[in-house]
Amino acid sequence: MHDHLEHIIALLERTPGALDELLRGLPPEWTDTNEGGESWSPREVVAHLSHAESTDWITHLLEHGESQPFPAFNREGRRDTCKHKPMAELLDEFAALRAASLDKLRSLAPTDADMDRTCVHQVLGKVTLANLLNTWAAHDITHLHQITRVMAHQVRGGVGPFSRNLGVLRCSAHGDGPGGAESK
């Protein structure tokens, strides 16, 4: 297995636990509120992570290479249905899907040569397996970054003069919700 893969897996196997510790049992004032308009709540972000987890582009890349682009990814997948599920269930679902996809990744055990294999992303063009695997980890992190920003937004009015010392309140979202850039 490629050396760097262990580094990627170290993050991927920790994200569900970190989100669980942060969000399980937290009042809905933190988890079900957004940054206004159509922006995402932490609850919806967790559902999005599960949706992304159930989309296996690694096998697709290894099977088809550049002969067949990745299928389209619906970022809104599970966004509506998640409203009716308890947060605990959404977190359990993500953890189970992640554990299964890591088992699969370990069994695929991509080699150095595999890491340079390519497929075509419908918008981004040619990408390597290494790009895809690194993005999987970075995608976890971008959504952790988003969740902390959405939560901080809820106390924006409550911190008074301290707001100028809180960098998260100056984060401008960088398009990680609908209407901005895609996230897969």
């Binding site: 937290l26 790009n131 409550g158 008074g160």
Partner: protein, 179 residues
């Protein structure tokens, strides 16, 4: 959400566990690297959180309740934080942060703060008059700003290796905002 003490506590009691799950046992490449220059690593950020827990939050709450606006909060001395960064491993700092946080929340609950106390004011040496309610909301927001920072610093390590996907990853467009 207007400031609500129970909501603040709900967040404050979860942060150490979340950081522990995210960072414990992580390879050095994730926790020991920064965004260049003097910027902070996740390891240094955990040291900062532990130090703030010891020297900043509850001491300031007590100071505000005791002195009101008659005496500014004592300055936040960052020297012990730098020493801890050198001396301690991330795992040790995570344990320390969790223990300090649990102790501060015990102290906070013991104060049994009511609505009238939440409006009392203290004097921040740089920001001027602040209410207890603002100080407590900031405690929660400070956890979040550093989780936000840690996620940004970690993502920075993959800036090149994600290839064309960088344009879709919002965290890679985050410009730091100072923390």
């Amino acid at each position: 959400m207007t400031h609500n003490l129970q909501h603040t506590i709900a967040l404050l009691e979860r942060t150490p566990g979340a950081l522990n799950e995210l960072l414990r046992g992580m390879p050095e490449e994730w926790i020991g690297r920064n965004e260049g220059g003097d910027s902070w690593t996740p390891h240094e950020t955990v040291a900062h959180l532990a130090h703030a827990e010891r020297a900043d939050w509850m001491p300031r709450v007590r100071h505000l309740l005791e002195f009101g606006e008659s005496r500014p909060f004592p300055p936040f001395d960052r020297l012990p934080q730098r020493e801890q960064i050198q001396r301690k491993g991330t795992s040790e700092l995570l344990v320390e942060f969790a223990a300090l946080r649990a102790a501060s929340l015990d102290q906070l609950r013991e104060l049994d703060l009511g609505p009238a106390q939440m409006e009392r004011r203290g004097l921040h040496p740089a920001l001027g008059a602040v209410s207890l309610s603002q100080l407590l909301a900031t405690w929660a927001a400070h956890d979040l700003t550093h989780l936000h920072q840690i996620s940004r610093v970690m993502a920075h390590q993959y800036r090149e290796s994600v290839g064309p996907w960088s344009k879709f990853l919002g965290v890679l467009q985050c410009n730091g905002h100072s923390s």
